[in-house]
């Protein structure tokens, strides 16, 4: 058995086989029935002829037999025609009359057991088929035999059968094609809801666990599979939700004690210690909020119609980051386009990406320098600093989670740039880093301009 991956080809294949078998056997069966019917007709005709011959059989008063056939009937049995023949035998098997020249019986075997027998024999090259009929006359039995040379009859039968194929047989081919076409239509219609379901299934990812396969219009036979898949998705979604909630809960549990710690530190008499502890708390708070950002990004999916103005976002980021920069003895500046720069994306997410780049730059810039944010009309944001720059061999590493150049520094988990990378990925944006001619780093984020 050929194994098909596709149900469609499997059914078509089996259907074609079934049709071919039917197409071959149907004419054979019909042919058999034709032959049977023709034989039956022949037998009846023979019997009637035998009755007719018997009708003209007369017993004389002296006990001898006479057979006087009318001329029309006589002609049928003439040797010139050669198609039909008759013979009359008495109960001892002696031939009384025969249309054959040699006055021989048509059927040598004479079954006396029944009134009528349909028999076949061979005479020379010809097959003869006919009937042997018992007639009771004057208390004596005679056998009237009538036969027909089948060579003549077969011509007609063959004609009929050949004619049947010519007139009726051709229908099987278009019927076959028509059934194939119907098969294809049925399958297309039955499979359409499945294709729709597959389209839906393609949309499912860790960020879109709310998608379910539509059970409407799904064929009854496949519905259990679809339902089972949906139930499996329900369980997965619950798992994902628990994981997300865990992160949010963990953040909550960490942040409240951190707030308490911070308040206590404020009340310390030693301002120097208090300041140092404050910085440590800032660092911890930053890591917690980055972990929360990452957890949120895992379940974030962008609305394709959402638009954001890079110019406004960068101005907000600069406002937000300015106090941080100033507290570290650095400054921040915004330049580039004065007009709004609309790009496709979620404003809050873009803001987080740019904020992380800016915070990163502030961390690495030497005191007294300025971190510059440049908004370009093409949909690109550059963040320039005057720090040490990024070494060629580190450029691929810096976007990985938890990567840090200097692991001895605390308050920096190496999450910022991985968040930027992840946001860039969800927005189909490109992120690149190079060093400025003066030595600082130049990060650029390039977004698709909104149409």
């Amino acid at each position: 058995m050929i194994s098909f991956r596709s149900i469609f080809s499997r059914i078509i294949f089996l259907h074609v086989i079934a049709l071919v078998i039917t197409a071959i056997f149907m004419p054979l069966v019909l042919y058999y029935f034709f032959k049977w019917a023709a034989n039956d007709l022949h037998d009846q005709a023979m019997r009637e002829q035998a009755e007719l011959v018997a009708h003209y059989l007369v017993v004389r008063p002296d006990g001898s037999w006479t057979l006087e056939l009318p001329p029309a009937l006589h002609d049928i049995y003439s040797q010139a025609v050669g198609r039909y023949a008759y013979a009359v035998l008495d109960d001892s098997g002696r031939v009384l009359f025969s249309s054959l020249k040699d006055r021989s019986p048509i059927f040598s075997a004479d079954p006396r057991s029944s009134d009528v027998a349909y028999l076949e024999t061979r005479r020379g090259n010809a097959a003869v088929s006919g009937v042997s009929l018992v007639k009771e006359m004057d208390g004596r039995s005679v056998w009237v035999q009538v036969g027909e040379d089948l060579a003549h009859r077969d011509v007609i039968i063959d004609d009929i059968v050949a004619d049947f194929f010519k007139r009726v047989g051709w229908i099987t081919l278009p019927m076959l094609l028509f059934l194939l076409a119907i098969d294809i239509v049925i399958f297309r219609r039955a499979l359409r809801p499945l294709l729709n379901a597959s389209e839906m299934a393609k949309k499912i990812n860790p960020n879109r666990t709310d998608v379910r396969l539509p059970p409407e219009e799904i064929p009854k036979e496949i519905l259990p599979l679809v339902q089972a898949v949906n139930q499996a998705l329900d369980r997965l979604e619950a798992g994902f939700r628990m994981q997300r909630e865990f992160t949010a809960d963990a953040a909550h549990e960490l942040r409240t004690p951190l707030t308490i710690l911070r308040s206590r530190v404020d009340t310390l008499a030693d301002r120097g210690v208090s300041k140092a502890l404050h910085q440590d708390i800032e660092g911890m708070a930053r890591i917690i909020s980055q972990l929360l950002d990452i957890a949120e990004l895992e379940s974030f999916s962008i609305d394709p119609h959402e638009k954001a103005d890079l110019r406004t976002i960068c101005a907000e980021v600069a406002e937000f980051a300015a106090p941080l920069a100033l507290a570290k003895g650095k400054n921040i500046a915004l330049s580039g386009s004065d007009a709004p720069v609309w790009v496709n994306g979620n404003p809050e997410m873009l803001s987080r990406a740019i904020r992380n780049l800016v915070e990163n730059a502030i961390n690495y810039a030497p005191p007294g320098t300025t971190v510059e944010i440049v908004v370009e009309g093409s949909g690109m944001v550059r963040v320039l600093d005057e720090g040490p720059g990024i070494k060629e061999e580190e450029r691929a590493l810096i976007f990985q989670r938890f990567w840090r150049r200097d692991r001895r520094r605390t308050g920096n988990a190496g999450l910022g740039l991985s968040i930027v990378q992840r946001i860039a990925d969800t927005h189909a944006a490109t992120i690149s880093v190079e060093n400025r001619p003066t030595g600082g780093a130049n990060f650029s984020l390039s977004f698709a301009r909104a149409g």
Partner: protein, 226 residues
């Protein structure tokens, strides 16, 4: 002034109460959403500080109920989550401001003052940065408690900056504030006033610094170097 603090963490609630008291606020502390719900209907508070994670339900439901009754009570939300959705739903439910934990107490105080200073609310005290003070009622600046003479526009710029101490004031806002809708403003007019103000303050020994955030705006802060 009486504040309502709804915070289920006893330790934090106690610390905040102490410090709020030191800053001159009487504070009632409640630990559940149900208690808060009752308290706001029976007592008039100047403002409420509401933690979102409460043992008997979401703090947001308390907030929605207050806003449903069209109670204008200023509400400052404290949240440990600070996620995008949490912030949006917090502000939509009628919070006037929010702070993400862990916050600096000074930040909480500053936000509360800003809420209480809003139209219809009692005006706060004078604004103070290092040795520079500004009385919002008499619109008078002081350095080391000595009154200073400044022009009307310099005074306006100084007040604007001091109201947002340690936060950026956009150049556009300064422009609108000093020139109103009078239209034609020379592109460098704001820079000129800032420059003059900066010079005046430093000449008179104010320990503050007005930073220029190029392309964004200005920020006044204590001059740490001084």
């Amino acid at each position: 002034m009486r504040l309502l603090l709804v915070e289920d963490n006893e330790e934090l609630a106690q610390l905040l109460t102490q410090r709020l008291q030191a800053a001159g606020y009487e504070t009632d502390v409640l630990t559940t959403a149900a208690e808060a719900q009752t308290a706001v209907t029976t007592t008039r508070y100047a403002a409420m500080v509401l933690d979102l994670g409460l043992p008997d339900g979401d703090g947001l439901s308390v907030l929605r109920e207050i806003r449903r009754r069209e109670d204008p009570l200023p509400v400052l939300v404290l949240t440990a989550r600070g996620g995008l959705q949490d912030r949006v739903s917090g502000l939509r439910s009628g919070a006037d401001d929010y702070l993400v934990k862990p916050f600096a107490f000074e930040e909480l105080l500053a936000r509360l003052e800003a809420l209480l200073r809003r139209p219809g609310q009692l005006l706060g005290r004078s604004l103070q940065i290092a040795n520079l003070a500004f009385d919002t009622e008499s619109r008078q600046a002081f350095i080391d408690d000595k009154p200073q003479v400044l022009s009307a526009r310099e005074t306006a710029v100084l007040e604007l900056l001091m109201r947002r101490k340690d936060r950026v004031v956009s150049k556009k806002l300064v422009e609108d504030h000093i020139f109103g809708l009078s239209g034609d403003v020379a592109s460098n007019a704001v820079e000129v006033y800032i420059h003059r103000l900066r010079k005046q303050l430093s000449e008179r020994g104010a320990k503050v610094q007005i930073h220029t955030i190029r392309g964004v705006g200005y920020l006044i802060s204590e001059d740490k170097a001084a």
